[in-house]
Amino acid sequence: MGSISRRAMLGATGGLIAGGLLKTQADALTVAEEAAGLQTAQADPTKVLGGPTSVLGQRAPGEQPRRLMANPAVTSSSRTPIEELQGIITPADLHFERHHAGVPAIDPDRYELLIHGMVDRPMTFTLDDLKRFPAESRICFVECSGNGGVSYNRNAARNRSPSLIDGLFSTSEWSGVALSTLLREVGISRDATWLLAEGGDAAVMARSIPVEKALGDAMIAYGQNGEAIRPAQGYPARLLLPGWEGNAQVKWIRRLEASDRPSMTRDETSKYTDPLSDGTARQFSLVMDAKSTITFPAFPFMLPERGWWEIRGIAWSGRGRITRVEVSTNGGDTWIPAQLQEPVLSKCATCFRHIWNWDGGEAVLMSRATDETGYVQPDLETQIAARGEGSSYHYNTIRPWKVEADGRVFFAQGDGA
């Protein structure tokens, strides 16, 4: 029994693994088994002594999710395989990446965070200093401002999986010190309205952050899902701005300068601004509006037979809690409230489910999220009417999925289905 027999098993349950994924998972399986020397499955595990304890756990050989990525690159992204995950937490090694000049190698013993500018006492804090302050944790999402870009298109390609559309989205339990605690310690001026946040990577990434947010729920985070933040997520410390676009949550944070005006850095002027059809562009459009997407069934999955299937997905809002998710199986003609899975947390992924008896005919599946402000996730035409066809960033329209009579499922944005 080796990877080949396991492959056969995957093939036998092929209804659960559509064509494109089967190859990827089988390949990953082979690599994992051979490289890690993992145990192969036994015909009868009750008749063979099991494996020993170990200092570091590993995934089951057949469970090897991977981030989606074209080629390794220093100024690119990799995507969380959202349709392969359960619950709301993204395993740290599957958290999406978006780097602008690679992942820096920072010595935690030499790390310092400088806070200066319009403060009474400009100060530096070591990593140990940050950990000594009163700590806090919260579960929230981080999402790239450009997430969902391929969906903002009347002619969007059909062969797009949920992660290819919305995989620049991950949810973690973040631990650190409230930024307000640090700003209190340095005595930020009452006249300060902006903080320039700057990273210690080769991009020396810089964004201007309103002090209101900094004194609100912002955090300097050093923990991610119970362990130190991974290098790709900002080790040893990053800025966390719950509900706001990822780019502003500067990783590898090394400096905060209090000021009374924004710095107008590249990533708050030439990038991450939203041009509108009236000849203007929205700037400091930092909040991620309510959004949801069905993660099952979705491309490349193929429903093997009619009958009961559970439509599953995730919803989130940068403005607070999700209060309702509705599901449609007929292209938006009628909507049914989906079941929300606890916990339903503010600015956090929320799982939803709806049980569906597929009759074997064509169907168009949609989900529509509402948040606690009363904002309802719009459809593509509504958002295009509000912003313009060429607008960019903050794409949160309804994502439709077309189920063909043969069970194949395709992304159906714009094709009318």
């Binding site: 107008m264 850095t265 939203d274 607070g320 402000t373 719009p378 060429g390």
Partner: protein, 216 residues
């Protein structure tokens, strides 16, 4: 660039006071598009007894002027903190043709990375209306200082932060010249660069999305 002199240490209730300050600040922030996004009563953490916190935890080190100066590299639209030095269009061309041309092309339009040069007819701004218009420094960037700030931080990609201030001023001058924003004999420095008015300067507006039923 601290604009304030020393002040007395804040009182014990400073944290709450600062939250109030933040809310007050929000009214002035509206001009920059920053409206409160936190619904009332929203919190994911149990209320802690911050009233028992000391005025200072006495954690951390005072930052010396030298420490601050070494890191304080931002160059904003007001020119505050701009480093000395200057660069001409011709000097910028010389630097560009060695260190930038490989990624941005001979005239700043060829790529393969971001297109730097190009103006829209009559300086139109149809990016929201029409898909696929390429954004450039000349047709989209609202502030010339951003060129210095960004290049100084991270360019060239294979040797980030390796240019002198004079070289960065010069490259900014050359990019602005290629975009027909400044004349060929212009020299960029701490005074002239912030004074350059970009074609798209007045196109940027505050974020008017505030939640609630209206789609914006």
């Amino acid at each position: 660039m601290s604009r304030l002199g020393p002040r007395p240490a804040p009182e014990q209730s400073t944290l709450r006071a600062y939250v109030c300050v933040g809310l007050l600040a929000a009214t002035t922030l509206v001009s920059y598009g920053c409206v409160s996004d936190t619904p009332s009563g929203e919190s994911n953490t149990v209320e802690s007894g911050t009233s028992e916190w000391p005025r200072s935890f006495a954690i951390g080190q005072s930052a010396t002027p030298a420490t601050i100066a070494a890191l304080d590299i931002d160059f904003g639209p007001d020119g505050a903190g701009a480093p000395p030095g200057s660069g001409s269009v011709a000097e910028g061309q010389a630097v560009y043709n060695v260190k930038c041309v490989g990624c941005h092309g001979l005239t700043g339009q060829e790529g393969p990375n971001d297109r730097l040069v190009g103006r829209e007819p009559r300086d139109g701004f149809l990016f929201g209306e029409i898909r696929g218009i390429r954004k450039t420094v000349g047709n989209y960037w609202p502030y010339a200082t951003t060129i210095f700030d960004y290049v100084n931080r991270t360019m060239p990609m294979n040797a980030p932060g390796s240019l002198t201030a004079g070289e960065v001023y010069a490259v900014a001058a050359y990019i602005l010249f290629l975009n027909e924003i400044i004349p060929v004999d212009a020299v960029m420095d701490a005074q002239t660069l912030p004074a350059v008015v970009m074609p798209a300067r007045d196109r940027f507006v505050p974020d008017n999305r505030v939640g609630g039923p209206e789609v914006r």
